[in-house]
Amino acid sequence: QSGLTQPPSASGTPGQRVTISCSGLSSNIGSNPVYWFQQLPATAPKLVIYRDTQRPSGVPDRLSGSKSGTSASLAIGGLRSEDEADYYCAAWDDSLSGWVFGGGTKLTVL
């Protein structure tokens, strides 16, 4: 089952802005909304962006999502230590009739 492509790691210093990319196909990102999840160690994934750009209540506006064609990005501005986590993108795939996830990006706050 094909998945979405993310860089395995990203890093930044406190206060910086970092961007995590997510690349897919016309059958998933190209035609369906992208979702982003944050996962802290030993916890369930937490939804931080839905429908490409929308934030659930309680998610700070330092986090933002964007999409263009078959790629999407999650940006985190004003980086804080509590942002250190794994981040996953996800989208529905029309060809597979199922969800596909990225491999995850480990964000380190230096």
Binding site: Q1, N32, P45, K46, A90, W92, G98, W99, F101
Partner: protein, 119 residues
């Protein structure tokens, strides 16, 4: 408030079967789909399939077809995941996740259930 509470850790031998439950509360049980997603140790998220608690309709990912079942008990607002012929590759944390439709997800996930397969 919306809650999805999953059953506890399971330890199984290769070749065995496992059932994981996901007790829902705080919302109309039949109004939302439930997806199942798993995560092997140190690995990423993997979608397994969904169940429509209203109709009982289910769909599994191709990788799991023939080996996975999804069920629901409306009287106790609980959904179930069953997986047969377990191997060490099935060692993972299994999550249930609520969804307004098949092609959407929302922020309500279970806490996860560890299934460990070992001889």
């Amino acid at each position: 408030q919306v809650q999805l509470v999953q059953s506890g850790t399971e330890v199984k031998e290769p070749g065995a079967s496992v059932n994981v439950s996901c007790k829902t509360s705080g919302y109309p049980f039949t109004a939302y789909y439930i997806h199942w997603v798993r995560q092997a140790p140190g690995q990423g998220l993997e979608w397994m399939g969904w169940i429509n608690p209203n109709t009982g309709a289910t769909k599994s990912g191709q990788k799991f077809q023939g080996r996975v079942t999804f069920a629901r008990n409306m009287s106790i607002t609980t959904v179930f995941l069953g997986l047969t012929f377990l191997t060490s590759d099935d060692t993972a944390v299994y999550y249930c996740a609520r969804a307004p439709t098949v092609v959407t997800l929302d922020e309500n996930w279970g806490q996860g259930t560890l299934v460990a397969v070992s001889s």
